[in-house]
């Protein structure tokens, strides 16, 4: 599942301080500051490499990166 891949990357690679809670699909990643700017940059690079998609700058908006579900939906749409 896309959600699991995204969640694993966030938890293991980019979550700030390594103290992130269990991240549910609708946990607010930006509001709760799970992702800092560098983490977001790394996440976007990861998504592009992992799912072979290209994310446009205009797609870098909270509605696409607010939660794991938002990210998974974006990836899913890009892959179609």
């Amino acid at each position: 599942m896309i959600e699991d891949t995204v969640r694993r990357f966030i938890s293991e690679e980019v979550a700030q301080d390594g103290s992130s809670p269990a991240i549910s699909d609708d946990y607010p990643l930006l509001e709760r500051q799970v992702l800092d700017s560098l983490g977001l940059f790394q996440l976007v690079a990861f998504l592009e490499a992992e799912f072979r998609i290209e994310i446009q700058d205009e797609e870098l908006v909270p509605s696409n990166f607010g939660t794991v579900s938002d990210i998974a939906r974006l990836v899913d749409e890009k892959r179609r």
Binding site: L30, D36, S37, L38, L40, F41, Q42, V44, A45, F46, E48, A49, Q56, D57, E58, L60, V61, P62, F65
Partner: protein
Amino acid sequence: MSARTRALVAERRDGQAGVLERAEYLGPVRDRIFAFTHLPGGAPRAAALICSPLYAEFTRNYRREVLMARRLAASGVAVQRFHYRGTGNSDGAPGDITFETMRRDALLALDRLRTTSEGAQVCLIGARYGGLVAGALLPTVPDALVAIWDPIVDPSRYLLDILRARSIVRLKKSDEPPDPPLSNVAEQSGDDLIDVMGYEVRRSLFQDGVSSPFLAGIRDTSGAVLLVSLGADPRRSREVQAITSALEGRAASVEVLTCHETEPWWFTSGALVRKDLLTEPVVITVGWLLGHLAEGGDVDG
């Protein structure tokens, strides 16, 4: 030496390390670049020129370059640092910077280094865009040892990464509206100035032709090459892979080493205070250079 010239030079000697640090301006009046020379106590065993990156990356890397220069000088290597015109303490305006002015500034600094280091083995060290500048010097010093931190191969891709950083900063401030579409900015022609996160950037710095002297220079030289990746970021890894592919079959060695911590470059999150992030690239590079200098000594000796 006239009083006016003397006034442009300041020196400090570190008695413990036996290193002399000299700050001075090089070049003609009103077109000077600011330069630092780090000279070991005895005759230098090698001479290293550090080509800095630009803009936010210049600031992020500054302390690392100072630490590296001091470590190298304490190990007997003369080191030259400098500010490109239009940056730091040098003359000129930011919008004046072109790849050619950067190459000329680096040549001026290299000339100064060679004057002070008595024909020692030259090492070129470049970070990010500074790697492209270092590569463009290789026709002048084809036997140089080369170390590049987070190299850039595709300048237009690099610009898109910087613009992406801007978009991500906006994304974090979720109450601000998103940037207008930026995806075509790097592809537009012309040499106008564009604003990138507060920096006035000349578009020609990010056009494809800039990178060609870098790859050709490295391919044609006889010295060993070190590529240091500051973190395992997929984009940076792709740049490193592109270089190593382009250099396949080259006689001298190309080594790739990756740091544990990821350098954020365009993000001022305070991550540089992490000691490993500050010192790991320095330790890797100094170790590699001194190792190769020792090997060279064995072969020659």
